[in-house]
């Protein structure tokens, strides 16, 4: 039964990883930007929510509704200024710029808010759980985060495949120049894609902040989980990202069941195995 419990916890944790990874997948899939600042941006979002929850005592949901759109706007701005300019120069420049952005965020947070570890206080929600039987119990917070992840992925999928702006995002991702000569402002479209990605980053950052503690230096460690979820699932596929997140989550919790210090390593080993034996991921995208 302890294994069943670990499996359930792993699947739910996978929802959080998928929520966190979909923004990374989106920015790579559309703009070919490897967002090395992804993890640090999530930490930054958690720090933005911190005063809303700790000082103003707003409910978590309200804080999320404030921080997410704000972060989406920041995403549009960062894409139109810093990222687009680096894309105009070349892919290597973009990589360096994102790396630089990561360092700026880490050190900015460290300078302004110290290295103290924080967490977003969600009161009893953090520990309340639904007890299935003696050994399996499911936390309400994990279920809530999992549900949010599914809703976000469904909404992203619907937006990309059913709306006109989603169509233009896919067109610009396929062929930027061809999109521009048939009337698409590709810079604006990239801005929108970045806004979507930053919105999901904010949600994931808040979820991480409720789940566990965070400090200014934890971003890169989280980034690795997002990379692993994306690669295990298959680049460019949102449902692949969900599958990848769940596989990673299950690997970590089952590994931790064997030995508490073995959890993260088990995730890395599964990631390496997928890279070695199925490099296109579990659910490769239809068209690359």
């Amino acid at each position: 039964m302890v294994w069943v419990n670990a499996l359930v916890q792993g699947l739910l944790l996978g929802g959080l990883y998928a929520l966190f990874a979909c923004g990374l997948s989106l920015m790579f899939g559309v703009m070919r930007v490897v967002n090395l600042a992804h993890g640090d941006l999530a930490v930054l979002a958690a720090y933005l929510a911190l005063p809303l929850i700790a000082v103003l005592h707003l409910p978590v949901l309200v804080a999320a509704l404030l921080v997410t759109p704000a972060f989406a706007l920041i995403g549009y701005g960062v894409q139109r200024t810093v990222i687009q300019r680096s894309l105009d120069v070349g892919p290597l420049t973009t990589l360096l710029v994102m790396f630089g952005l990561a360092i700026v965020i880490q050190n900015g947070l460290l300078q302004a808010l110290s290295a103290n570890s924080r967490s977003l206080d969600v009161g009893t929600l953090a520990s309340a759980s639904f007890r299935v039987n003696g050994q399996v119990s499911v936390g309400y917070l994990s279920m809530l985060i999992f549900a949010v992840a599914i809703v976000v992925l469904l909404a992203l999928q619907a937006l990309l495949s059913l709306t006109a702006v989603g169509r233009r995002i896919r067109a610009a991702a396929d062929d930027q120049e061809a999109a521009s000569i048939v009337g698409t402002d590709t810079r604006h479209v990239f801005g929108i894609a970045a806004a979507l990605a930053f919105g999901t980053i904010a949600l994931a950052g808040l979820a991480f902040g409720m789940y566990s503690s965070f400090d200014p230096s934890i971003g890169p460690q989280r980034l690795i989980f997002a990379f692993e979820a994306v690669v295990i699932g298959g680049l460019g596929s949102l449902w692949g990202t969900l599958a990848g997140g769940m596989v990673l989550g299950v690997a970590q919790t089952l590994g931790a069941q064997v030995d508490p210090s073995f959890g993260v390593l088990a995730g890395h080993l599964v990631f390496l195995a997928v890279l070695a034996f199925r490099p296109s991921g579990l659910i490769p995208a239809r068209v690359t």
Partner: protein
Amino acid sequence: MEVRDLTVRHGQLQALTAVSLRVDAGETLAIIGANGAGKSTLLRTIAGLHAPAAGAILLEGREVTGLAPHRRVAAGIVLVPEGRRMFPSLTVEENLLVGAHRARSGGWGLARVLELFPWMAERRRQLTAQLSGGEQQAVAIGRALMANPRVLLLDEVSLGLAPAVVRRLYDLLPELLRAGVTVLLVEQDVGHALRVADRAQCLLEGRTTLEGRPADLTAAQVEAAYFGLAAHTAAGGEEPWSG
């Protein structure tokens, strides 16, 4: 539409040198010339993909030289690019709909494009990778028409297609012209170009070497302008190159 003394450089290479052209509403102008003559560069510069070093592009007297490509679409200049450039992850219908984003008001829309290419209706949900080259070219033309262009720029429509397919595509031109579209086309296949065009202009190494109505041009003139044989003799006094 009018192009005045357009000069375009790619790094060290001067792709176009003071090329001028004029194409009136409802007219078809063919730009012919050998590989590397600057034909595609000319169309891509008109569409806004290259910034010219000098010169101006005017649409109905209004200068559009500095506009971004998507703004030129809104103004009425739409390019059907060389190599068709489909969006491979989009269906046929989605490819067409992307073209309608900055459409001017006018007669073209999804229904009319499907009327022009009847086979497209039942294959609208397919990905473009499942289409033949000729069908993809038709989607590329349809996608451009969705914007209701004033000036349609056609770049190497015949490239990689069977002659019968090319003929069918070019047979559509009169219908487009009747709908008030002005066509500026670039072709390596001189026969097709001269058959459909009202006027032709030949480029050689980025300069205009010949222009006129196809009926007034002799085969020898075209050949000379195309390969540059006459250019040296016409320049007068220049020593012919001897290797």
